[in-house]
């Protein structure tokens, strides 16, 4: 690990607009610092600035950036009104990590691309202009949607997939004041600047995540991976579906493990909205989600895997409901 200066922030203001790197749980940043993938000169510890509560906000809630993943998943209100979020968080990492991982840090976690972690390999995300080891290399965990010539990495997290489906809003503050970023626009596509994972600007800090009014319906987060627990998603599907007189309503779908951001396709949701559930309709929705999908070789399996996982989730969400 490279040398750095450490200081503790007493309030968010101490961390906003500085060039110091924020450290929250440290479960991603320290992992990467040990490998010298990340080499910040200064760390500012935000674990004592507050922002650690879940509060009501109209019909919704505001989740502070320092709320631990374990607390968010176990929160009574979140469990009752946004079970999708609890399910997604509980599907990620391990209990020890979730006890430490923060809401802000989880959104900001970096890709698990093997070449990004390997200082001896080329990687445009780690070292812009050095090339991409994964294109033509080992790319089993990589993106099938929205990839570029420069980078085919995925955003690896689960929590943000649920937040995208739930139309959450990320509340941030920078030197020029506060702004809201819809969760669906927080992460970005790599294009020719894969070094940027998301749309947070330098000097900005995540203060909280706002969930709008509950959607009702059934909430399902299904994560397909190499082992049943404590592994990143190959493909994950977040779904909210309500049934109204035998027809689907309030349909929300988001996908993890397939792109540089949680993938949301409004056209697929619109295909299902107001319709009676049927297998061929589920297939058409999957086709809409997979529009433009392209495998890289080792990850070709993700295309049929996403299709089948979505069908299974929609069948489960609508089964026996009226």
């Amino acid at each position: 690990m490279r040398q750095f200066d450490y200081s503790r922030a007493a309030s968010p203001a101490d961390a906003i607009g500085t060039d110091a790197r924020i450290i929250a749980g440290g479960t991603n940043l320290l992992d990467l610092m040990k490998l010298q993938v990340e080499t910040p000169d200064r760390l500012i510890d935000v674990n004592h600035v507050g922002l650690d509560r879940i509060e009501r906000d109209g019909d919704g809630v505001r989740i502070g950036a320092l709320v631990r993943n374990a607390d968010c998943a176990a929160d009574e209100t979140v469990r009752r009104d946004w079970p999708l979020l609890s399910h997604a968080i509980l599907a990620g990492a391990s209990p020890q990590l979730r006890n430490r991982a923060s809401t802000g840090g989880n959104l900001m976690q970096r890709t698990r691309c093997y070449y990004f972690y390997d200082l001896d390999a080329p990687c445009n995300k780690r070292e812009p202009g050095s090339g991409c080891g994964a294109i033509g290399g080992i790319n089993r965990i990589h993106a099938i949607l929205g990839a570029s010539e420069s980078c085919i990495a995925t955003y690896p997290g689960d929590m943000a997939v649920a937040m995208s489906a739930l139309d959450a809003v990320v509340e941030v503050e920078g030197p020029n004041g506060r702004r809201d970023i819809p969760a669906t626009e927080f992460h970005r596509l790599p294009g020719d600047t894969p070094e940027r994972d998301n749309t947070l600007e330098p000097g900005e800090m995540i203060l909280s995540v706002r969930l709008p009014a509950p959607l009702g319906g059934r909430h399902i987060y299904r994560k397909v991976r190499d082992r049943r627990s404590y592994a990143f998603a190959l493909v994950s599907v977040a779904a909210v579906v309500a049934m109204d007189g035998g027809r689907m309503s309030n349909v929300r779908l988001a996908f993890g493990g397939v792109a540089h951001k949680p993938w949301r396709v409004p056209e697929a949701e619109a295909l299902l909205e107001g319709q009676a559930p049927a297998p061929d309709l589920f297939d058409r929705a999957a086709e809409a989600v997979l529009d433009g999908a392209r495998g890289q070789g080792h990850n070709d399996f993700k295309i049929p895997l996403l299709r089948r996982t979505l069908s299974a989730v929609l069948a489960e969400a609508t089964e026996g409901a009226e």
Binding site: M1, F4, P95
Partner: protein
């Protein structure tokens, strides 16, 4: 910089010349508490599990300086050879180890896990997110952050189920009481 930690009930001040020291290395190398093990040093195995302010965490992925003022329980604080905690006795009775390297992490983790269960925390298996029973599947899921290279999982699950039966009946007894007290501190 000075870092004050309360470790297993005793307050200690460490002088750290370098902020890079992980909590794990501080415990092992500065405080001679070598029960906590370093497996992967990257949050992937759970051998380094300790309880900080009532919560189990991986001590390898956190800096000692970040814990100034915190209360920490390591395996040395769970029980001693002459006064074993119920989980420690149960691991011996059920042969819940082979090489023993992961065992301190397993026992510290299970100690906190049983407290999480008492507080009604759900897991990804708790379908309706309500309070869960301590089924073998729930034990396996809730202990998934602790890898055992010797693959003693069946005996680990037996040990935890057995110890939970013993402590579960005496609410407020070991180890829940201590954790609740730390959590409140």
């Amino acid at each position: 910089m000075d870092v004050t930690l309360t470790v297993n009930g005793a307050q200690q001040t460490l002088q750290l010349d370098d902020p890079r020291v992980s909590l794990l290395d501080a415990l092992r190398q500065r405080l001679d508490l070598t029960g906590t093990k370093k497996g992967c040093d990257h949050g992937q195995c759970g051998a380094c599990t300790v309880i900080v302010n009532g919560r189990r965490i991986n001590s390898c992925l956190t800096l000692a300086v970040m814990h100034d003022g915190d209360e920490i329980t390591t395996i040395e604080g769970i029980g001693t050879p002459d006064n074993l905690a119920p989980l420690q006795r149960a691991f011996i009775k059920h042969d819940g180890f082979q090489c023993g390297y992961c065992t301190p992490g397993q026992i510290v983790s299970a100690t906190a896990m049983l407290e999480e269960l008492r507080q009604g925390w759900p897991s990804q298996l708790t379908g309706d997110l309500g309070a869960a029973d301590l089924t073998d599947e729930e034990i396996r899921e809730r202990m998934s952050g602790n890898i055992c290279r010797c693959s003693c999982y069946p005996n680990i699950v037996d040990a935890i189920r057995d110890a939970a039966g013993e402590t579960g009946s005496q609410a407020g007894g070991q180890p829940g009481a201590r954790l609740a007290a730390e959590g409140a501190a």
